[in-house]
Amino acid sequence: MHLSSLCIDSFRNIEKQHFQFNSEKNYFFGDNAQGKTNLLEAIYLLCLCKSFRSAVDQEMIQMGKEEYKLNGRFMDAQNIEHEVLFHYGQREGKHISLDGKPIYQYSSLVGQFPVVILSVADYDITHGPPQQRRRFINILSSQCSPRYLSDLKEYERIVKQRNKVLGSIQSGKRYAESELEVWDEQLLQKGAAVIMFRHQIVVELNQLIQNYYRIIAWGSPDIFSVTYQPRIDILHPGDVVDQFRMALQRSHKLEKMRGMTLVGPHRDDFVFKIGERPLRNYGSRGEHKSALISLKAAEATLLRQRLQVSPLLLLDDLYAELDRIRGEKVMDIFSDGSQCFITATSFDYAALQTTQAINDQKTQFFVKQGIFTLKNNGS
């Protein structure tokens, strides 16, 4: 699958622009704060209906304008064209359509045009708090399985309802105790489904990241790994509901005191290690970047394997913090049939001129103050 063209109107600092993209690699060079990431954000919005940066649509409208429009044409694996229209206006709100038909449930679009983003904010996956790791796993899993997304949304709703009941109990309303049980049962069923899917995804991810890390961090004898750490024993996957039930019973007393749900997948964590060292505490900045690149390459491969469709790869500021050798090798691990959108600084551009990889690429754009121009290199 690839994005063949894109029209942007009044989105962040991009006034009006029409793009024809290369089905393999598209480079965007420019100084800082010129609009490179804004372009990636627009593409991401078309794929997942939400931004990887701020969640506020209002902020994405160009200064002084009242609405923004995005129009993307995707070519699927069977060479059939699909048009996604994304329109947000201050008054009208958000309207999305696929092939001319309005989409009311944005979740139905998730997974149709799979996408992987690598951006500065993703350092938080290996570096930040657990919620960033859950977010990463949730976006990946939701693109793999609509059922996962539906289970997760229901689970989150149940947690909210249950927390309200626990809050009533905490504030002394004893009658609420009789209500707790009915939310418990649903929490267990949906929670167990989420846990089991996450477990499976992490197993698959783990095999892939080791391989990619070996390529990007060549010469390093260490193995990069990820382990799932649910607060529930899942050694015997058939018994997840029972294990969850026991964990819930153990924490009931504490939950009533604190007024919130304390066990379950909404509090899961995932541990990344290089060799025996937990990356979060001990990794250098460069190691984090190598780990992140392996993780994103693995995410793309996993999506490709499960969906039989190559995802779009949005690689923001790809070359930052990579040394010369890693910089030269990095595109090798992403060249697996996926269409890539790579942003890099003017500084990287100069460095890349000496490598063969960049000179083979036909589609290079230069960005200045929101205006993208195609490099005419005569090839």
């Binding site: 609509p146 059922r147 709703r157 309802q161 009658y175 609420a176 009789s178 209500e179 049980e181 009915v182």
Partner: protein, 198 residues
């Protein structure tokens, strides 16, 4: 914008309180009504007044009705041993349209949702218990197949289990007449989960 007529202003204000009606739509409705013959508007006003004067809840099943007990509860030809529990009066209308169900109903008046401040005490659950004399043999739980409807069904199961009645839950799956290829993935995967042996 304010109108020179206080009456118009008040009508717009009242109409805009209705669900799905914003101020703009309310204005359009008011100007439409202003242009209608007075007689038509009177009929509408009377219909609205009657809603509160004539319509009440059945003291047995809590469906909306003009006579108490409602025509379903007072129909001796209906199967008195079967009660179908639903969330809203609308659900009764839907089930009645099928013409298949010959038992009685019980309208809860909503579903449990702590976030909206609705607990068992806000629903007609105790009233259901008082109906369960020796005559009733089966209760069908027909609350919606969503988080809140499921919780309500589970709560009722807990409540009714000791009474040793037959408790059933409506099935969920692919709509009749629909093609499998057009069903959404979630419905389809649940339908496979809930498959039956032939």
């Amino acid at each position: 914008m304010r109108y020179s007529s206080e009456t118009v202003e008040r009508a717009v204000h009242e109409l805009s309180k209705l669900p799905g009606i914003g101020r703009k739509s309310a204005q359009r409705l008011v100007f439409f009504l202003l242009k209608r013959p007075a007689e038509d508007v009177k009929i509408l006003a009377q219909a609205l007044l009657d809603l509160h004067e004539k319509v009440k809840y059945c003291s047995i099943c809590y469906n909306i009705t003009e006579q108490d007990p409602c025509h379903i509860c007072s129909d001796v030809h209906r199967d008195q041993s079967l009660i179908c529990v639903v969330e809203e009066a609308n659900d009764v209308v839907a089930l009645e349209k099928t013409g298949e169900f010959k038992g009685l109903y019980h309208v809860l008046g909503g579903a449990m949702s702590p976030l909206d401040g609705i607990g068992p005490d806000n629903l007609k659950m105790r009233e259901l218990l008082t109906r369960l004399t020796g005559q009733v043999h089966e209760i069908i739980l027909a609350t919606n197949p969503n988080t809140e409807g499921e919780a309500t069904a589970l709560y009722l199961v807990k409540l009714l289990r000791p009474l040793e009645l037959k408790l059933t839950r409506i099935a969920r799956g692919i709509p009749i007449g629909a093609d499998i290829e057009y069903a959404d993935e979630i419905t389809l995967s649940r339908a496979i989960e809930g498959r039956v042996t032939l």
